[in-house]
Amino acid sequence: MILTLSLTVVGLILIGLYGLLAVRNLFKLIITLQILVKGAVLALVIAGETSGRLQLGQSLAVTVIVADTVVAVIALALAVQLKQQSGTVDVGRLDTLKG
């Protein structure tokens, strides 16, 4: 059980890291970040469970969910504003800052 869940965490993190490198659309990048966060939430609860402090793990996980929701909201606000100002949310095409 714990092993399966730990492997799920590793899988979610790998998917997320791959996504961060491969995805170019800003909205999808934010979705990818959220996948990473799900992995972290699961990891914290598993850590709480294996160390015999499930409630502690739960408390940390809830805090993380709230904090990263806030981050996602700001990221979405940035994306919407970027779309309106420059007409694209394709990170590959945003090259005003290269060099």
């Binding site: 799920t8 909205f27 979705i31 809830v62 929701t69 806030v70 700001i74 005003t96």
Partner: protein, 203 residues
């Protein structure tokens, strides 16, 4: 067995969320990841996190994504009118709901504590841990939420002249009075909306 299936479901949803061509589909796959993870958490006995992950992760965040994608997708300018009012409102409501649920539990629990003080020291339930043992985290979190609300307001609200800006632009105007006529340089396309907006400077 169940956990293996759910794990696979979470991973497949994750892969699909990255592969999906349409943004809305990707957001819905993310909700799928969230639901699968929530069920896994539930099976671990982490009921409170499971509920919050389901409501915030699968619910609130998905709604936010759908809103933002819909708004950025259409070219109409009306987007800037809807979003500023809805986003912070949704954020605050959702987080308040979370806090309220937890707070109620904390209230019940502190009564229990009053009855049998000390006995729960090692075997605490979620609410005690979250609101008392980790109370400082909750406080810092309030600051973080405030910063988030500010961030959304700062990025998205209309900049209609409010008191502060008016007063200050007058002041800046005074500073500029003795400067000679400013040459009119044609605005560069990228930054035509200079934040030192040109009407405050144009002679």
């Amino acid at each position: 067995m169940w956990s293996i299936l759910l794990s696979l479901l979470a991973l497949i949803c994750g892969i699909q969320a990255i592969r999906a061509k349409q943004l809305l589909a990707a957001a819905l796959w993310l909700a799928g990841v969230s639901a699968a993870v929530a069920t896994l958490l539930y099976s671990l006995g982490a009921y409170e996190v499971a509920v919050i992950e389901l409501s915030v992760g699968a619910g609130l965040v998905t709604v936010l994504f759908v809103f933002a994608i819909a708004i950025a997708g259409e070219e109409a300018m009306s987007a800037r009118l809807i979003l500023p009012r809805l986003l912070p409102l949704l954020l605050v409501l959702g987080l308040l709901a979370v806090l309220a649920v937890g707070g109620r539990q904390a209230g019940v629990n502190s009564e229990m504590l009053a009855v049998s003080r000390g006995q729960l020291a090692t075997d605490q339930d979620f609410a005690t841990t979250h609101w008392q043992e980790r109370g400082l985290d909750a406080l810092v979190q309030i600051g973080l939420i405030f910063a988030g609300v500010m961030g959304v307001l700062g990025l998205l609200t209309e900049q209609a002249g409010f008191v502060g800006a008016k007063r200050n632009s007058e002041e800046l105007g005074r500073n500029q009075e003795n400067s000679p006529q400013l040459p009119q340089v044609p605005p560069v396309p990228l930054s035509s909306h200079s934040s030192l907006s040109s009407h405050e400077f144009s002679p």
